[in-house]
């Protein structure tokens, strides 16, 4: 008997190991539509905007001049810088508040609630997604306004005697509504990590002498870190680009960088719009890179 190695494997159709380029391409076609969408609706527009960011505009006409002026102008204008920083602070605060609320919720859900009720409660978290974002934000206008539900409640309870105007058309309103809007993202990301966690490990850690808090920090947190990172990414990054909520509940005082970009666009200042967009994009990419570093570093530290 001669060895069959290298020869065709009996019983398999010839095409299966033909390895021809045509066959390989044939298997790739399901990617086609997605690749086309990505190319025509993302990369090409992105490239166009990138090019615009180096052009100038005169009498609403784009002129291909190749200049860094648009970027410089952004960094030299106080209000732009301030809005940008405020956006970052807002994103940090909302991420912190969202995760701060979502973690106890997800922890309790995963650890103490029966599987059936877990589903019910998760559904309750997801249901708001079935209504439009716009409707939900309008609803918040009705809640936070001077004659809104919140003021009514506070007055009924007797905490205040006059309606407050501090909730709507400023940063407070934006913070409240964004926290509400992004809570489900944080909750779902954290829950999906916590759900896989075996909580007897915490009992074991305490058995070995760890205080409950230390058990949490040394045993639980390192294992659910991916959930935290996902939660941060899903909350922080979209907020940097938020436009609708600041427009509707932020008013003129609650403007974020997204509103600025829309204003550039409406004013026909396409190069300024493009430059601001790329500054945001660069910032987010920078963050992701830093975050990756931080993550790996942290993994090394806990192993030491």
């Amino acid at each position: 008997m001669t060895a069959q190695a290298g020869g065709p494997v009996p019983g398999l159709p010839a095409e299966a190991h033909a390895g021809s380029r045509g066959a390989a391409l044939g298997r790739l076609w399901p990617f086609g539509p997605a690749a086309a969408v990505l190319l025509f609706l993302f990369f090409i527009p992105l490239a166009i905007v990138f090019v615009y960011s180096f052009w100038t505009v005169q009498n609403l006409q784009l002129i291909p001049t190749w200049t860094l002026q648009n970027y410089l102008k952004f960094f030299q204008t106080d209000t732009y810088i301030r809005t940008f920083l405020k956006t970052i602070i807002m994103a940090v605060l909302v991420t912190a508040a969202g995760i701060g609320m979502a973690f106890p919720f997800a922890y309790f859900l995963a650890r103490y609630v029966s599987t059936r009720w877990q589903r019910v409660l998760l559904l309750a978290v997801i249901i708001p997604f079935w209504s439009s974002y716009l409707v939900r934000v309008y609803a918040w206008q009705a809640i936070l306004g001077e004659k809104g539900a919140l003021n009514w409640l506070l007055m009924q309870v007797g905490l205040i005697s006059e309606p407050l105007t501090i909730f709507l058309y400023n940063d407070v309103g934006v913070f409240i509504v964004l926290t509400y809007v992004y809570f489900p993202f944080a909750a779902l990301s954290l829950y999906s990590s916590l759900e896989k966690f075996d909580f007897t490990q915490l009992t074991a850690a305490q058995d070995l002498g760890a205080t409950p808090l230390r058990a949490m920090r040394r045993i639980l947190l390192p294992q659910v870190r991916p959930g935290f990172i996902t939660a941060m990414i899903f909350v922080f990054i979209p907020i940097i680009g938020e436009y609708l909520t600041p427009t509707l509940v932020g008013g003129t005082k609650g403007v974020l960088i997204g509103n600025l970009i829309v204003n550039f666009y409406r004013g026909g200042a396409f190069p300024a719009m493009a430059a601001a967009s790329f500054i945001i994009a660069a910032f987010i990419i920078l963050l992701l890179v830093l975050f990756r570093r931080y993550l790996q570093l942290d993994d090394v530290v806990t192993k030491l």
Binding site: D198, T200, Q201, T203, A204, D207
Partner: protein
Amino acid sequence: MPDDLPAIELVHATKRYGDTVALDDVSMRIAPGEFYCLLGPSGCGKTTTLNLIGGFVPLTSGELRIEGQQVNDLPPHKRNVNTVFQNYALFPHMSVARNVAFGLEMDGVKGPEVERRVDEYLELVGLLALKDRLPQQLSGGQQQRVALARALVKRPAVLLLDEPLGALDLKLRKQMQVELARIHRQVRTTFVFVTHDQGEALSMATRIAVMDAGRIAQEGTPQEIYYQPADRFVADFIGESNFVAGRPSQGTDGPVLELASGERVALPAATASLATGEEATVMVRPECVDVGLEPPPGPGWAVIRGRAIGVSFLGDLTRVTVVTAAGEVVASRPHAERSRAAALGSLLDEEVSVWWSTAESIVIRQG
């Protein structure tokens, strides 16, 4: 003398979960260095007992002392007690060595001392070579050993083990039983071991508490539990038993049990006078029962006539099932010679006698 203090002492301990009484007024004393087994059917309160000792659930009433100290309200991380969990609960993000070091770090042990003790205990369980692996890169038996080393490295007063061998296959389980017994002899820590496998309890324990519905049905050495079960529940739960019920009375050669058929079955000579007229049950283990066409002559034997309805050859022994006036009686006979197996085989469907030495039988309560 501190040496005389029990390692664990439960005094009228009761634990209720709502309406469920998981532990019902249980008292026990476990001496230092014992290998104490909690044995019983599912739901009888074994895990609850361990959880009370470990500090994971509070007592409803009663008292718990560890090395003489009342610790009812001491949180788990302050108790000098460590646990091997049924699912091991190893930390998957830490290497074997880090897992074992964890408890030491929590105690503030530092530097080379940690390393030294981790190595010492990994050596003890035979896993030193695998210290840098992650738990998921180990087999079930190896994970089990890591859990053991992780708990023992803290040199606790008491080691609690909740069905630690439950997840292993039969062969590995036997191996680990031998291992555990060796480790126990080597470290001399008090072990409190939960199992519902009687073979495990009998082979490893210095003392066994058989539990039933939140109470201790009987406590004693493996031999006491096996040969002198306190009641029918214990006899049934541990090993295999024959029960013969009848009315006790006084025969010519001592106390006897009168069967419905009128047969008189000799009782152990030492049997305290039983209330005549009431039912009594005598228990005898199958391996103490012999079977044949004719019983041996002379006193000291309890004999019942019957018909052999089943003979199963099991290799090292033969089991003969005999229907008697008192129900089925099983005799389990080893064969030192081949001819013996053939002789037993020929009994099928014959009228036979079963008999046992009255000293091997015991009158028990109807549990």
